[in-house]
């Protein structure tokens, strides 16, 4: 609690820098316009102009907030100009990928912990894969999956039979979800292997003196003691999944989602649109990580662990 005032000070300082930057960086355009019109601008006129341009080099915070408000609450959520619409497209790909990536990651981690051969052959690669920019395969994966026709979550016919129409987010969902899964997979593997190995020799010996079966040791000792590691890697994993989904959207078609908003914004010089998408992505990331943090605190408290 005593950190509130320092945090607010830092945030206020960042805002001040942001406003100063907006005035400085946008003033060139304002001055050019004034010169062309043949008028002299006073300092206050420059300031008001730089904070209200339509395509500023650096939009002022209040402009971004206005843009966010307009595209989130004042637009119909099925509209292609609504940030909720695009955010949901990104979120659905992130979540689907995250669930698959985490599930597979946990399974592989269990395999690694119980099979020495798997440990020795897979684990060095899993660790090495953390140092390479896996994200670079995103454009290729999107195009290859388009070529073989695996793009929609449920095919057009299936989803029309189920829901009447094909929900917008299902179109082109699969490549993004695969990349999101791929990015969350390795952090979860590495974290869970650490977690499942967290019980020390003493505790494992105790289980042996109880003559516990392998399954009992797993469910009653290894899995519970891996939980703190599990949640930590979930937090890393979901942030990575979101980044994966956004980057995949840069090459996916149709160009939609938060990544698509950034790309179209950069094509047409719509800086406000880019900033709104960026803040939207940040809010989404913070919400997802916060949600996992809450789950973590709740679970660990019920297990009697200190989070």
């Amino acid at each position: 609690m005593r950190s509130i005032i320092p945090i607010l000070t830092v945030v206020a300082a960042l805002m001040a820098i942001w406003y100063a930057g907006a005035i400085l960086m946008n003033s060139k355009w304002a001055l050019d316009q004034a010169e062309r019109a043949g008028v002299e601008l006073s300092l206050s006129e420059i300031v008001t102009d730089t904070l209200a341009q339509e395509r500023p080099v650096l939009p002022a915070p209040h402009q971004v907030v206005t843009e966010l408000w307009q595209t989130t609450f004042e637009k119909n959520i099925t509209s292609k100009r609504s940030l909720i619409f695009h955010g949901w497209i990104t979120l659905s790909a992130t979540l689907l990928g995250f669930i698959f990536g985490t599930g597979l990651g946990v399974l592989l981690a269990v395999g690694i912990v119980y099979s020495r051969a798997m440990d020795m052959s897979v684990m060095p690669w899993a660790i090495a894969s953390q140092t390479i920019p896996i994200l670079a395969i995103a454009p290729m994966l999107v195009v290859v999956m388009n070529t073989i026709g695996a793009t929609d979550f449920l095919g057009k016919e299936t989803s029309e039979a189920l829901f009447g129409t094909q929900p917008a987010f299902m179109k082109g969902l699969l490549p993004k979800a695969v990349i999101a899964a791929y990015l969350s997979f390795f952090p979860v593997v590495v974290g869970m292997v650490k977690g499942l190995r967290a019980p020390d020799a003493m505790q494992l010996d105790l289980m042996r003196t109880y003559s516990a079966s392998g399954a009992a040791t797993f469910w009653k000792l290894r899995l519970p003691s891996s939980m703190p590691y599990f949640f930590t890697s979930l937090k890393i994993g979901i942030a990575a999944s979101l980044v994966g989904a956004i980057v995949a959207e840069l090459s996916a078609s149709p160009i939609r989602g938060l990544g698509g908003r950034m790309l179209t914004g950069s094509y047409y010089g719509q800086t406000l649109q880019i900033w709104a998408a960026l803040i939207g992505a940040a809010v989404l990331a913070a919400a997802l990580v916060g949600l996992i943090g809450t789950l973590q605190r709740g679970t660990l408290r019920r297990m009697g662990m200190k989070p």
Binding site: S266, A277, L278, A282, A286
Partner: protein
């Protein structure tokens, strides 16, 4: 068909060898520890080659490793130009500027607990955000050449590095700091002789995390616009031309550069923090 059967048989044999080695008395030796993952990697490549040839997967979906290797060998000059543009100019300069700036910031705010209490949560929060999204903005500001890529890298590595350094500077314990005080050591002396050395494991942790971020930032920023060279540019254009062997060659370069970069930083860490328990075996 013989390709498929052959590769599956190879896979079975190699898996059997790995299982046998991993459970044999030799498993503790250094050679086996290197041999087993190598066998696994080679098996993956052979099965990939065999299945792609046997099932006649078209090149535009998945090229076989031999085609990728041929492409790699025949376009070394292009790959080198891309490597210099993206890694040396974009990622490396951004990495040095970003990590340097974060380190200096951390040392500067070190004397102010107020700023630390404010900056640490904010920095932690920003480090978890998809900062890669600033790429289109920075490309607009700094142009298409490597300057904008370096700027993206600076923004990406700054906060993880800052948070790690601030944590590291707080890592020396009270007893040690009290000892420095009884020696009558000044603030710079304490910083140089006790707190910075004690912070090194944290600082190197930040540096290692940043290596991967730097490469990702430089490559993804090129998707938003770049001159006609660079790894990200090559990947996105060659994908468009469906010459996937070139894309895979470029990905190989990215993977090699990423692991080499990480490896170099890890080696320096080994030399600097030789006293830390994690480095003593």
């Amino acid at each position: 068909m013989s390709w498929v059967i052959g590769s599956l048989a190879f896979w079975a044999v190699m898996t059997w060898i790995n299982f046998w080695l991993a459970n044999s008395p030799l498993r503790g030796t250094r050679l086996v520890k290197l041999f087993v993952p190598a066998v696994f990697g080679i098996t993956l490549l052979v099965v990939w080659e065999g299945l792609v040839r046997g099932l006649q997967v078209p090149n535009v979906i998945l090229p076989p490793p031999t085609a990728i290797a041929t492409q790699f060998a025949s376009s070394l000059d292009i790959l080198w130009v891309d490597f210099v543009q993206t890694f040396v100019k974009g990622a490396l300069s951004g990495y040095i500027i970003g990590c340097g700036a974060a380190f200096l910031t951390a040392v500067m705010i070190d004397r102010s607990p107020f700023l630390q209490r404010g900056l640490l949560p904010v920095g932690n929060f920003i480090a978890a955000l998809p900062i890669i999204g600033t790429a289109p903005i920075l490309v607009m500001w700094f142009g298409f050449d490597w300057h904008s890529k370096a700027a993206v890298v600076v923004v990406m590595v700054f906060f993880p590095m800052l948070v790690n350094t601030v944590q590291g500077l707080a890592a020396s314990d009270h007893m040690q700091r009290d000892l420095m005080r009884t020696y009558g050591a000044s603030y710079p002396q304490t910083l140089l002789k006790l707190r910075l050395p004690a912070a090194m494991p944290f600082i190197f942790n930040g540096l290692k995390i940043s290596t991967t971020l730097a490469l990702i930032g430089a490559i993804v920023a090129e998707f938003f616009g770049s001159p006609i060279r660079g790894m990200g540019f090559r990947i996105s254009t060659e994908v468009g031309r469906l010459s996937l062997d070139m894309v895979w060659a470029e990905i190989t370069v990215a993977a090699l550069a990423g692991s080499a970069f990480y490896g170099v930083v890890a080696m320096i860490e080994k030399g600097v923090t030789f006293w830390h328990p994690s480095q003593r075996s």
